[in-house]
């Protein structure tokens, strides 16, 4: 309310009480107008009080809603964080399982399952893009007599050391795995028979130098025979494996500790 009004109201009140104006025809309407004004003023004040109350409660509601929203967001973030971590856990478990299911536990090399997967993939690449692919089947010479003479512990040790030797002789892109008991399969992608030749020489040489400990001060040497086959375009991959197997038999017949190539 503006300031002059109380003054005006006071003046009107004085005029109404002044005996000099008792008979004025304006006195009665002024008295009514004055009364009406007082009532309106009271109404207005009540209205403002109520409106302020509403505003206050709307403000409190807003505050509460905002707090609830923030709480929900925090909750949602926590949920996502925990769920993501469970998902990561599951993914790691999957990877570990896949690794475990593709590795030969004794030698740490690829197992037959993994070799078959890789063979299928590289066979497809070789056929589609006319790339060379060579397989080598390797078998430890007279492995049974190692087991018989020195026990399975020595046999296992021989397999482990041989596996390490194989890995060292191969190039990074080659894959070597345990195909069966003492048989190993080497997958040489993008490699022709001619290109594989120095690799085979190096491999046989390397294996000859391996020393297998039998007990504290005795060692034995091992040799291996290898059959090598270059994949022929159009052949099934099993046919190439079979040719490598036959070449391996040939190497054994020729007196072992050597490699032999399958005819093209």
């Amino acid at each position: 309310m503006t300031k002059p009004q109380p003054k005006l109201l006071q003046h009107v009140e004085e005029l109404l009480q002044d005996a000099a104006h008792q008979d004025s025809p304006l006195r009665e309407p002024l008295a009514q107008l004055y009364q009406h004004h007082l009532e309106q003023q009271e109404k207005l004040e009540r209205l403002i009080t109520i409106a302020d109350g509403y505003q206050q409660s709307a403000h409190e509601d807003l505050h509460l809603t905002r707090e609830q929203l923030e709480q929900q967001i925090r909750r949602q973030q926590k949920l996502s964080r925990i769920a993501d971590r469970y998902q990561a856990l599951l993914r790691e478990r999957n990877l570990a399982l896949r690794a475990a299911s593709s590795v030969d536990p004794l030698t740490g090399l690829a197992n037959r399952r993994r070799l078959n997967e890789q063979l299928e993939q590289w066979h497809a690449t070789a056929e589609r893009h006319q790339r060379a692919l060579t397989l080598a089947m390797l078998d430890i010479d007279r492995f049974k007599s190692v087991n018989d003479s020195f026990g399975h512990g020595t046999g296992d040790k021989a397999l482990e050391l041989l596996a390490g030797g194989l890995q060292e002789s191969l190039r990074a892109s080659d894959i070597c795995g345990r195909w069966g008991g003492e048989e190993f399969l080497l997958l040489l992608p993008e490699t022709s028979l001619t290109q594989a030749t120095p690799l085979m020489e190096r491999l046989c040489q390397h294996l000859r130098q391996l020393q297998i400990p039998v007990d504290d001060d005795r060692h034995i040497a091992l040799t291996a025979s290898v059959g090598v086959a270059e994949h022929r375009p159009g052949d099934a991959i099993d046919a190439t494996i079979k040719r490598a197997d036959q070449a391996l038999m040939e190497a054994k017949h020729q007196g072992r500790d050597r490699w032999s190539a399958a005819p093209a």
Partner: protein, 129 residues
């Protein structure tokens, strides 16, 4: 008193047992159920009713391993119920046991524990296998 839960677990659902008299709720195993609202709805309902009607304390024994997202949400809801009850003066507690070969589960249990002010133990246990 509400009838106790006795849900037999499967490869994808946890074993759930409740004991109203003993004030105990046990959950164990992996949890990625097809319908987690149906499964955990019962657990949440039991917990809510227990905290509302019973006057003795509630102890949760958990041996949960893998939880999918909706199971994580259900567990958060259950811990919220416990937190509210705790704030209201009730005795509530949690023991979460994990296999020592899997420390990651302990880390996840710690994430759950973050906003809880009631006793919440994360306890290693040797594998039974």
């Amino acid at each position: 008193m509400l009838e106790d839960l006795n849900i037999i677990g499967s490869q994808s659902t946890p074993t759930i047992q409740s004991d109203w008299q003993g004030g105990r709720l046990y959950m164990c195993g992996d949890s990625y159920p097809e319908n987690s609202y149906e499964l955990f709805g019962q657990v949440i309902n039991w917990t809510e009713t227990f905290l509302g009607d019973a006057s003795h304390g509630l102890h949760l024994e958990l041996e949960l391993v893998y939880l999918n997202t909706s199971s994580v949400k259900a567990m958060m809801d259950i811990f919220d119920l416990l937190e509210d009850a705790h704030q209201g003066g009730r005795t509530v507690s949690v023991t979460w046991r994990y296999d020592t070969r899997n420390e990651r589960i302990a880390e996840l249990a710690e994430e759950f524990r973050e906003d809880c002010t009631f006793p919440f133990d994360i306890t290693p246990q040797q594998a039974q296998a």
